[in-house]
């Protein structure tokens, strides 16, 4: 927790660098005033004094505790203000909150990751964690789709992953642009080209709700069981503590019980894709 005496008081963090990932997405490199420990897939509340806060899943390695990277898409009032911040600004961090990816369950297995849009932010953190434990993994495959080549974030990540033993990364775009000679089509089309031993594999899906829905259906069709599919749900997390009820999804508080669930845990809930 940021402060043991007051769970609502943010930890101060200096903005060291702002990286422009795409026209609407920036990564904020933050130096917290003290060590910040989180598990991959957990989320934080990032705040700007006098403006407000919003939930984000860190995109940096959980093994780096003196620096935190948070990727922010400009979608509303708070994120608009965040996008105007420059190096040296001070931000606030509350958390980490919730249940992240159970990476110890991935040991000895193949991990197939399907991501879309800004969903690559939590996945990037997961990829760092998996790279850290790669000797205990069979294989890691990333399939990622963005709307256009320009909208793709962390572009250097793909060539880096393809240079790491046991890692494969594929990209597609919904709409091509001048200079793009890669695949065109939605993210799920990439699943047709991967080779996985499904019985010894887990799948992770993170992205916009529509991609999560179609991605999960395709994974089930491939033969994945519902307890082999991990979904990172984003449901208007607000307090982060399971108190305010903004993030309720059926019987779950996404901020406390999630944001990572297996499909088996939540498939009975009609609200999961909304």
């Amino acid at each position: 927790m940021a402060d043991n005496t007051n769970i609502y008081k943010p930890l101060r963090a200096r903005l060291e660098e702002v990286i422009e990932e795409s026209p609407l997405i920036k990564t904020f490199v933050l130096i917290p005033e003290r060590e910040f420990i989180f598990s991959t897939g957990q989320f934080i509340e990032l705040s700007v004094d006098g403006v407000g806060e919003a939930p984000f899943t860190p995109s940096s390695s959980p093994h780096v505790t003196d620096k935190l990277e948070v990727t922010v898409m400009k979608t509303g009032y708070v994120t608009n203000i965040m996008h105007q911040l420059k190096s040296g600004a001070v931000m606030g961090i509350r958390g980490p909150y919730g249940r992240g990816y159970p990476v110890s369950n991935f040991e000895g297995r193949e991990v197939l990751i399907l991501g879309g849009g800004c969903g690559l932010a939590p996945i990037r953190s997961l990829l760092f964690a998996l790279e850290h434990m790669k000797d205990n993994l069979e294989k890691v495959i990333l399939c990622y789709g963005s709307k256009t080549p320009t909208d793709c974030i962390y572009k250097p990540l793909f060539s880096r992953l393809n240079s790491i033993d046991k890692f494969e990364a594929y990209r597609t775009v919904d709409m091509s642009e001048e200079g793009w000679d890669g695949p065109v089509g939605v993210a799920t089309t990439l699943l047709g080209r991967v080779k996985v031993k499904i019985e010894n594999s887990v799948a992770v899906v993170c992205g916009p709700p529509v991609m999560m829905k179609f991605g999960t259906i395709r994974l089930l069709e491939m033969g994945y069981r519902d307890d082999q599919i991990y979904l990172s749900m984003e449901k208007n997390m607000s307090c982060g503590l399971g108190k305010c009820g903004h993030c309720m999804m059926g019987e779950f508080f996404v901020c406390k019980d999630g944001p990572v669930f297996t499909y088996k845990e939540i498939k009975h809930n009609p609200e999961i894709w909304k």
Binding site: T172, D174, M175, D181, G185, V186, T189, G192, M211, F214
Partner: protein, 149 residues
Amino acid sequence: MEITDFEQIKFFEKYTGEQLQKIASVSSVKEFKVKEIIFEQYDELTEIYVLLQGSLSLGISLPKDKRIHLGTIEEGQLFSWSAIFPPYISTAWVMAVTPAKVIAIDARKLNAEIEKDCDFGFKTMSKIAQTISHRLSDTRFQLMNQLNV
């Protein structure tokens, strides 16, 4: 074409040797150069294809000679399924992005085999249905993306 050529391709798994022989007897290999149009939208089709090598672009035509690229066909995938069903008119265009080699299957002869042999027909129609189902699902996904749903 030889049966061994088909056995390497995922699309043809589950067929018996005898069934692969039937497909081989009505198939040929065709090659296309970069940017060559394999067929246009609204063309009458007589062959269905399975991509052996290369990469193809699939899209639809718009007024004023505009083209939208909707997807990429990867090695091992079936395309030109409209050749099997009346009115045998293509719903999209397909163009070679790289030099491409395809198996071209005579659709009328294939249909005749489907009618004669129920097991062969069921396997073939299941594979074609799966291709169409994926295409439909991907199109809905893309539509929802474009509508920002």
